[in-house]
Amino acid sequence: MVTRRQFLKHAGATAALLGLSETMIPQLAKALQAASSGKPPIIWIQGQNCTGCSISFLNSNYPGVAEVVLDKLSVRYQPNVMAGTGQTAIAAINDTVAAAKAGKGIYVLVVEGPVPTAQNGEFCTFGLTTQTKTLANTNVKVPGDKTVHEWMKELVPGAAAVIANGNCASFGGIPAANAGTTGATPVSEIVAQIDPKKPMVNVGGCPSHPDWFLGTALQALIALKVLPGGTPLNLNENKMSKTFFGKMIHENCERRGAFDAGLFLDDWNDQSPDYQLCMFKQGCKGPVTFADCPTRRWNSGVNWCVGANAPCHGCASPSFYQKLSPLYQPLPNVNFAGISPATDVLGWVAAGATAVGIGAHYLYKQLGSKPEEAEGGEK
């Protein structure tokens, strides 16, 4: 039996995860209590993913993944975590859907990876259909492959909410750069075709941070009153939780001081114990990316991209990857003073079109010449 004291401690850790104030604890405590008596069911399917968001989920810290799986969520189907394979795994989905229909616990659908729609969706399949196909070199008929698009049509209607986990599920990400071939489509578009009113949230990041995913999932469950509470979700225009995706990386970067002082990294052998250099010239996309990486950091807080002397590639931005390529080339002429929250959807193209604020500052510091003279020489 969990004591009240342990419980509040636990709720405190979760509140920290969610970035919430201590005043939220009583509500969370109620939510968690409900969770331990009947854990919310999760069906987690994978589209054209890379499994990176699943692996990132395993890196969860406070709560650890064992705690999440044992105490918080009823993970009915998750290709990488569950013990079942084949028909037993699929049975877990079917049982969960049937239970939801019977009013015995509504599930949340998590989708990792975009949904391909070209060629009838055959670029990504799992499970079987009732249609048959013939095995190579035989006359043996076997059931055909069921497309992820089919699965979406089956699973979205009964879900309490759909969570697109990770940049490519949310916005198409890297696979969208080949959408011409596969028709890789963001989950939100597929959901809108099936049920425009279905609650739907995006979790950015390539991969998503485990806190971003778990925190957004908990916020959604509370907002939908699957868990007690009802605090509405506070989402930005890209359907991402403002708790995690509300702040610009550049504004909170630990190396912002170097940027302001014009100390940019040119050569990775330039190591000084006295200062850490700004990664802007190496293509940092921090000025157009909204995420709390600088403060939350990654892998139990050990490090983050800029901490490793590397640029932010903007993987939490809806513009990732296509619009932010070339990844290691500096953003052209970003207007710092005038940067707006909408910038994160615009990325490279719009950044190029905005005024010279940052460009002037940066070029002046680096080249000691006026921006207009230097422009042609900068690659």
């Binding site: 890379c50 670029f123 095995l135 892998n299 002397n309 993987c315």
Partner: protein
């Protein structure tokens, strides 16, 4: 991933392995700035971004003709090593172990370990709530450790499930080691063409080594011990020989021990037709990919990776996989820990193989030696890493990057070969007009899970499945055990297994 097996008289008679997802990374990287390749290609796989990103970096290094500074070489080795540790732990405990353990036996635990008692009470609570996901449902088997009448007892099963829980923390610790030099995992940022981005300092060496030592101890005392326990459980003795992939093994070699890369921790080599005592020299030029049974245009048949093409053709007649069929000198090859240990002939592994009777005729390398090689490898690599940490040179001015990595040639070819947890991985690039022209990746699972080739010869997993006992077609646990022993990593890797009893021509539909 999808596996079809045909069962006759209680054993698998034929098998088909299919990759069921296509994204086209090789296509979408064309025309991009070559430096993008490391960031994009590492995202081929979220389980193995470290290996793909590293292969991409070596590939770009070779195209730009860089000389890797010594510290950069060592940091890349250390991070490859940390990735071996996290991946092998994840594979055994979280993807494989529950094929051998009865989780419900935990409810009968009557020992005194407080952590295990807590685990028991938790599992009882879940069982009472009828919510044992994600441990159940699954295929049942009478030979699970802890099952009534099976090997071991509930206390042993509980200890193993306790290790499953510990393993989450351990692999996370190994991911943290990578993060120290590479920023984050998965999808790291710490390698660039020409070197690495984070210099060795006293602080990060200490942070790395502290975690390494914890892991070395745990791997030795827990992981290797648990694998030995499964390997020597009499009920699993048939799996020492069952699950043999056909006697061909390939290792590209990896982890450079000198700056020129002429000496490697994992040597390269090729074994054909069980000739384990005489590996031959590896030649990357004799690799070619067949697409006869893959959903790619036939005009791309039998191309070498350096000039390979990716032209998908969904619904191509007779084809059944998005995975191509790479062949070495025309032969299918098993890659991975077993291949590496056989090529290296590491005395510790060879002693284990001898002890298990693997090398006594008929020589066969089944599920257990494959799993054992992985555990031994995790231990040996973790021990080697201490030496690499010692070799790092501290101090300002010690280079970690060759600036030549920034000079993009107008046209060049590159090749990056590495060994990753799942086996040999190669990336090939052609730079033209200063942009990425052609890019091809041949990944370990392409080797292991390949479909039939143009001559109709099966891929290694398909061959390994033939003869696997399936006494009850409703319960193909042994098929799952065989496939999982290869640690296949196809993103979208659902493990659909549906057997058919050929005599009645009736299919189980999932």
């Amino acid at each position: 991933m999808r596996i079809d097996v045909e069962v006759e008289n209680g054993v698998v008679k034929d098998a088909w392995s299919s990759g069921t997802m296509f994204r086209g990374y090789e296509m979408l990287i064309q025309g991009k700035h070559p430096w993008d390749a490391q960031q994009v290609m590492e995202r081929i796989c979220g389980v193995c971004p470290l290996v793909h990103g590293t292969a991409a970096s070596y590939n770009l290094d070779s195209a730009m003709g860089v000389t890797l500074p010594n510290n950069a070489r060592l940091i890349r080795n250390l991070c490859l090593g940390a990735n071996f540790i996290q991946s092998h732990i994840l594979h055994f405990y979280h993807l494989q172990a529950l094929d051998y353990i009865d989780v419900t036996a935990v409810t009968k635990y009557n020992g005194t370990d407080p952590a295990l008692k807590m685990l028991r009470d938790k599992i009882i609570g879940l069982a009472v709530a009828k919510d044992l996901y994600p441990f159940l449902p699954r295929y049942e088997s009478p030979d699970y450790i802890g099952e009534p009448g099976g090997p071991g007892d509930p206390n042993l099963a509980t200890e193993l499930v306790g290790h499953y829980v510990q393993a989450f923390e351990m692999r996370k610790k190994a991911q943290e080691m990578l993060t120290i030099f590479y920023g984050r995992m998965p999808s790291f940022v710490g390698t660039i063409p020409g070197g690495v981005t984070t210099p060795p300092t006293l602080t990060n060496i200490a942070a790395f080594r502290a975690r390494l030592h914890d892991l070395q101890t745990w791997i030795n005392d827990v992981y290797v011990a648990d694998v030995k326990l499964v390997a020597t459980t009499p009920a699993y003795a048939p799996f020492i020989k069952a699950g043999d992939s056909g006697g061909n093994f390939l290792a590209y070699g990896g982890m450079d021990l000198n700056q020129k890369g002429t000496d490697k921790y994992f040597p390269s080599g090729v074994i054909t037709n069980y000739g384990v005592l005489s590996p031959s020299k590896f030649d990357s030029n004799v690799i070619a990919e067949s697409v006869k049974y893959s959903w790619y245009n036939d005009s791309t048949e039998d191309l070498k990776p350096a000039v390979g093409k990716t032209v998908p053709e969904v619904g191509k007649s007779g084809a059944y996989s998005f995975v191509k069929a790479p062949r070495y000198g025309g032969k299918p090859m098993e890659v991975g820990p077993l291949a590496r240990q056989l090529v290296k002939k590491d005395p510790i592994f060879m002693a284990l193989a001898t002890q298990l009777g693997v090398l006594t005729p008929p020589v066969k390398f089944g599920i257990i030696p494959r799993t054992g090689a992985r555990a031994v490898e995790a231990l040996l690599v973790s021990l080697e890493m201490d030496k690499w940490l010692d070799e790092l040179t501290l101090g300002i001015g010690q280079p970690i990057w060759d600036p030549k990595g920034r000079d993009i040639p107008n046209s060049a070819n590159g090749m990056g070969l590495v060994e990753g947890p799942r086996g040999s991985l190669g990336h090939w690039i052609t730079i033209s007009g200063g942009k990425t022209g052609n890019y091809q990746a041949v990944v370990p699972t392409t080797w292991n899970a390949s479909p039939r080739d143009k001559t109709g010869v099966r891929g290694p997993i398909e061959t390994a499945l033939i003869g696997i006992p399936v006494p009850d077609v409703n319960n193909p646990i042994n098929v799952a055990r065989c496939v999982r022993s290869f640690d296949p990593c196809l993103a979208c890797a659902i493990h659909i297994i549906h057997p058919e009893n050929n005599s009645v021509k009736e299919f189980r539909v999932v």
